[in-house]
């Protein structure tokens, strides 16, 4: 992680990195009054929307790296709907929405056009939610990866189809309640043993760069965008973006939930280059999954009467496996 500041400053208790404590060149893009505001005010995202926050940081960071020479292809979904209610648009960069399942291919077509025109200065971003990326757009994503098209594709993962009313996607965690995995029957919520790990699948394509991030650590998110933009070829960034509506959480808890997802080990934050993990964001203080789950009504059925400690245990086992697999806790690797 060459471009990342070598030292992180954390305020006790909050873990928030304060801009005041950083030297000017290490401050976030967002702290800059000249930031591009690629996704500007006036959009219709819900209060506390993790996706709007993530997209803004990703795009402004990419705009800074490219000196504003950036174009975006967007999949259908929340991000597209809340940003472009006709005749208004929140986008201050050239932006195209085509379909739900084709954003990676559209972005690849843009990159091909730029190559044909000899425009190496303009870069391409593709973006979508977890449904558009992992489910309906997966073939196009894999095709873009294997051809090594010069596209940074960003998946804003809020773990279900929020735009259509919270239905289960391939990114929905086990036991989570959605409109299609209700807590009824013997196995409440989404099934265990299903779903897919998009970052690992992206790595299996051996593309130049794959990273995960959350909206809890925005410095880290910006640094990963910058790192991604230092490569040519297919790059994948998977950002966990809590959804107050779909997760049944307080709007004020978006950042807290994103941090807990990482600190429990449920969402490993790492970087990979050429198919190999090159860095892992360590968990500073391991947190039991229950602390994360209890803040979300989509898991409320696990804490009802009788409580499903067995199911919570299975979720804890998933987190523990991630911790072992990625070496998320300092002690575990030494």
């Amino acid at each position: 992680m060459a471009s990342r500041p070598p030292v992180k400053f954390f305020q006790v208790g909050s873990f928030a990195a304060g801009n005041r404590l950083l030297s000017e060149d290490e401050r976030t893009v967002q702290s800059d009054r000249d930031r591009s505001n690629a996704l500007t005010k006036g959009h219709r995202a819900c209060q506390g929307c993790g996706e709007a926050l993530g997209a803004r940081y990703v795009l402004d960071a990419a705009m800074r790296v490219t000196q504003g020479r950036l174009v975006a292809a967007n999949a259908t979904g929340c991000l597209e709907v809340f940003s472009t209610p006709y005749p208004e648009s929140s986008w201050r960069l050239p932006w195209l929405h085509s379909l739900f399942g084709n954003a990676p291919a559209v972005a690849a077509g843009m990159a091909a056009a730029l190559r044909a025109k000899g425009r190496t200065d303009v870069r391409v971003i593709g973006q979508g939610g977890d449904g558009g990326t992992l489910d309906i757009g997966f073939a196009c994503l894999s095709g873009m990866f294997e051809r090594d098209d010069d596209v940074l594709y960003v998946c804003y993962d809020n773990e279900a189809y929020m735009n259509t009313g919270v239905q289960r996607s391939g990114a929905t965690p086990p036991a989570a309640r959605t409109a299609t995995t209700k807590p009824v029957g013997d196995e409440p919520g989404a099934a265990f043993g299903q779903g897919k790990n998009a970052p690992l699948i992206a790595m299996a394509h051996e593309i130049p760069y794959v990273a995960t991030a959350t909206v809890a650590e925005l410095h880290d998110l910006e640094a990963k965008v910058e790192r991604a933009m230092s490569f040519r070829g297919a790059r994948y960034l998977h950002v966990l973006v809590p959804c107050p509506l779909g997760w049944g959480a307080r709007s004020a808890d978006t950042i807290r939930l994103a941090r807990l997802a990482k600190e429990t080990g449920l969402f490993p934050v790492f970087e990979a280059e050429g198919g190999e993990v090159v860095s892992v964001s360590k968990i500073r203080r391991p947190v039991p999954v229950e602390e994360y789950l209890r803040l979300q009504r989509r898991f409320a059925h696990l804490f009802a009467d009788p409580p499903r400690t067995d199911v919570v245990g299975r979720l804890q086992a998933i987190a523990d496996r991630n911790i072992r697999r990625f070496g998320l806790v300092e002690e575990a690797t030494e």
């Binding site: 020479r69 379909l99 084709n102 056009a113 095709g143």
Partner: protein, 419 residues
């Protein structure tokens, strides 16, 4: 230069001379030779600058063309049959966004039953996709239509599909005139987009539109396509001036003067139809043919004018709408609304069945003798015995089995013979 060429190669060379900047393609018979040849030309540098994208599906092929076109590049792809259906969502999107992509469609049947041979089921299934549809009668027409298609697409900012009969044309080798590079350059100016993704002037393309303006945006799609009714003949006459041969246009009349009977058709079957017309004209019959080159937009007035004086019109079409009948026939009837000609809908040449001169002559004899009931769908060369046996089986047994396999067994086709 006139050369002995396979149709696909002629099309590929012509497309290359139209200087596409991005070609995205997925292999499907019978379109493959076109995209293989283009791949060669990009690899050798004969076609440059051009990016050739080896995409993972037809849906991606059209999606990549959408991205490339929105980026201001001249974009081309080719497909057929199932491939066209697989990209259907992106077809509507490309036309809805008003992106001037040109696509060759090597016409082929749609399954099930799976069948790789020629008919028009694929193109007809997407007739309402908002794409302009041009149908080639011959390989020379296919070549010429591609040059015109790029001009038409870019002038209107609408996508154009050039329909070329699979195998019958794509795989036929014949002497063809492929336009020279400098001729095409003189005819087809560089692509100047109406809308483009440009960091210097950022725009949002593909915003959500609700009830307040959706009708108006869709109206514009229609209004723009209707402009092609003027532009297609204009470009065709410009083409004639530039290349010295007539090609394109909305319709192609063949010996329709004083004709009592006019056969209407699209695509390569017109060659056979015209032979039949010649033969019957020699024996004194007043008969002619009308080829429809531009099927979308449908030239209602021109078709009406071309057919108004006939007594009967026989529409020979290589697809049909299950549950109602002829597709071209319905359009022709609309054109003739209130006029006397009787319209016969004849489905012919499905799934590669040859439409022979003899079959057409016998059909026209039936029409002349009043043996063909107007208003009723007629299937040319239908083996009624086979169909009746299967209908009988349906009555006799609940588990009567799959139609296709039953019929092949009755037919004694090699593949269906018991071991």
């Amino acid at each position: 230069m006139r050369d002995q060429l396979e149709g696909s190669l002629g099309i590929a060379r012509t497309v290359a001379r139209c200087r596409p900047e991005v070609v995205s393609a997925y292999p499907i018979s019978p379109q493959t030779h076109i995209v293989e040849a283009l791949s060669d030309m990009v690899r050798t540098g004969e076609l440059a600058p051009c990016e050739y994208m080896l995409v993972e599906s037809e849906f991606a092929a059209m999606s990549a063309a959408i991205g490339a076109s929105a980026m201001g590049a001249r974009a081309y792809t080719a497909t057929a049959s199932q491939g066209l259906l697989y990209m259907a969502e992106a077809l509507f999107n490309a036309s809805g966004l008003g992106l001037p992509i040109v696509m060759t469609l090597a016409n082929r049947a749609i399954g099930a039953p799976i069948n790789i041979w020629n008919d028009h089921s694929d193109a007809m299934s997407q007739r309402d996709s908002g794409w302009i549809q041009l149908y080639a009668e011959s390989n020379q027409a296919a070549i010429d239509l591609h040059v015109q298609a790029f001009a038409l697409a870019e002038e209107l900012s609408l996508p154009v599909m050039v329909c070329v009969d699979g195998f019958v044309l794509t795989h036929a080798v014949e002497p063809l005139d492929v336009p020279e590079q400098q001729e095409v350059d003189a005819f087809l100016p560089p692509y100047e987009p109406r809308q483009v993704l440009d960091p210097e002037d950022p725009v949002t393309i593909g915003a959500m539109v609700g009830p307040e303006a959706f009708t108006e945006v869709r109206y514009l799609a229609h209004a723009k396509q209707m402009q092609a009714l003027d532009l297609v003949p204009e470009i065709a006459s410009r083409f004639t001036q530039a290349f010295g041969r007539a090609s394109g246009g909305l319709l192609h009349r063949y010996r329709t003067e004083g004709a009592e009977t006019i056969v209407v058709a699209l695509g390569s079957v017109l060659g056979t139809v015209e032979d039949v017309v010649d033969g019957l004209r020699e024996s004194g019959e007043r008969i002619g043919a009308l080829g429809i080159t531009c099927f979308r937009p449908f030239p209602l007035e021109e078709v009406r004018a071309a057919l108004a004086e006939a007594r009967r019109v026989v529409v020979v079409e290589r697809a049909f709408a299950v549950g109602i009948g002829g597709i071209v026939g319905q359009n022709v009837r609309l054109a003739l609304d209130g006029l006397p000609p009787i319209v016969h809908d004849v489905v012919a040449g499905l799934g590669g069945r040859a439409v022979t001169r003899r079959s057409l002559e016998s059909l026209l004899a039936d029409v002349r003798a009043g043996r063909l009931e107007p208003g009723r769908l007629h299937f040319l060369d239908l083996d009624t015995h086979l169909v009746e046996r299967e209908l009988q089986r349906l009555q006799e047994r609940r588990r009567s089995g799959p139609h296709a396999e039953n019929i092949l067994r009755d037919l004694g086709a090699v593949a269906a013979r018991p071991y």
